[in-house]
Amino acid sequence: MTTGSTFPRQARRAAWLLGSLVLALGLWQSVVWLAVPPPYILPGPVEVAAEFIASGQMILRHAGFTLTEVILGLLLGTVLGAGSAVALAASRVARALLRPIMVFSQAIPVFVIAPILMLWFGYGIWPKVMMALLIIYFPVTSAFFDALMRTPQPWLDLARVMGAHRGRVMRHVRIPAALPGLASGLRLAAVYAPIGVIISEWVGASRGIGYLVLWANSRSKVDLMFATTMTLAAMTLLLYAAVDAACRRWLDRPGS
């Protein structure tokens, strides 16, 4: 792939993105103009932008707390999820014992766990981090595990004829071959982790985006709710883009 062919494609993608953003904002403003809802029900994009400018510093401070919790949850969830996937792929016993527990754990809605986590870890940062960890653990483990179990058989045969040790096949063949699967899990995790943190912040927090939305709601500050929500959406998109870019860069030389 040459730079010459990449650049126009990226430019085209950016143009389409900008176009869809303008379309969404246009639709939103049209609803406000046509239906004329009271501003405490649906403020227009201009009012929301004005609120963001006015309260930007406060919103960004709360967003910073949420982002810290999300990143910590992402890091811990990735380490734990990737480790679990390797253990499951390496051991039949681990698969037999742990997979039913993992599937059962997914049957419990994370909303239900949030108050329990608060009870265990208090009001601070850790129940939020744990919540992000829990919500991304399964997608990361599942995506990486599936990829680890799909190593092309001819590669495994080659390793066997070479007299490879099992652990070394895992390290030098199965894991590198499965990294695109882990990357898919991480991309999902980047979108899911903020959901976990926000739920936890709703249940009990004195800072963060989730807290700010509830606070603004209780004071009928709908434009602040919208500005905060938009900030969260932008943060999640940026996080996704960062994880995606990191995965692409990493996958270009995963074995080195």
């Binding site: 001819p154 590669w155 045969d157 080659l158 390793a159 066997r160 004829v161 070479m162 007299g163 490879a164 040790h165 070394r168 096949v169 030098h172 063949v173 590198p176 071959a177 990294l179 030389r253 995963p254 074995g255 080195s256």
Partner: protein, 241 residues
């Protein structure tokens, strides 16, 4: 490398009760290049996989052994139609893969020599995706040479290459693998008569030997004796189908 032994295969194979091939007896001479031909589905690749010890599906009854009585495990190398290069490793790291997988110290000096023999020195740091089909197959040959095993199993290693590259690869492989016991599955009678010290045709009712042309391999493809042997081999293949 220990002196290459002859390879003896005797037995039959079934998958889920269905016979793959009946009782057959094959001997690949010590230090010789034996070509195995036959129509698709006759069980050539299964036979090769059984010898390599990587077939877990087929029920095999019989014996596979080396003439020197030493177990074959650890004395075989495999080269397939697909180059099986790890896409995330550079050419030299692919060549050193076996050592890494066994937990041995990678011998970079020998790897550099093997890359030189296969004409890949300039490409040592490249990833497989940056190589042509012929270069990739040469990298697979370099990896096979690096393993330095006395017995080699080749499963149609040149069949995906264009005619010119294939002829070049045949010459290079014949030169570099000389003196080892080679069992090669191929669909190409021209390839078999160029390279084979012995030629076996596999059919549902067993194996039959076809005499190879005289002279050392690789033989010139346009020599009249080679062309005659190719025609005879093709006739034998058609008869066995």
């Amino acid at each position: 490398m220990t002196p290459p032994p002859a390879l003896r295969f005797e037995g039959s194979a079934r998958i889920g009760g269905t016979p793959v091939f009946g009782p057959i007896s094959l001997c690949a001479g010590a230090g010789e290049w034996t070509c195995l031909l036959g129509t698709s589905g006759v069980g050539k690749t299964t036979l090769l996989r059984l010898i390599a010890g990587v077939d877990e599906v087929t029920e095999f009854s019989g014996m596979i052994r080396a003439s020197d009585g030493v177990p074959l495990h650890g004395r075989l190398a495999l080269m397939a139609q697909d180059d099986l290069l790890m896409p995330w490793l550079s050419v030299i790291d692919n060549v050193l893969l076996g050592a890494r997988l066994r937990g041995e110290q990678p011998d970079r000096t020998r790897a550099a020599k093997v890359l030189d023999q296969t004409g890949l020195t300039r490409h040592a740091g490249k990833k497989p995706r940056a190589l042509s089909g012929g270069q990739r197959q040469r990298a697979a040959l370099a990896r096979t040479l690096m393993e330095d095993r006395p017995v080699l199993l080749l499963d149609e290693p040149f069949s995906a290459l264009d005619a010119v590259t294939r002829a070049q690869m045949q010459d290079l492989t014949a030169r570099l693998l000389r003196g080892r016991t080679v069992l090669m599955v191929t669909h190409d009678p021209a390839e078999a008569v160029r390279l084979g010290d012995a030629i076996q045709v596999m059919a549902p009712d067993g194996l039959s030997a076809v005499p190879p042309p005289s002279g050392p391999a690789p033989r010139p493809a346009d020599a009249s004796e080679v062309l005659k042997a190719q025609a005879a081999l093709l006739a034998s293949l058609r008869q066995s189908a």
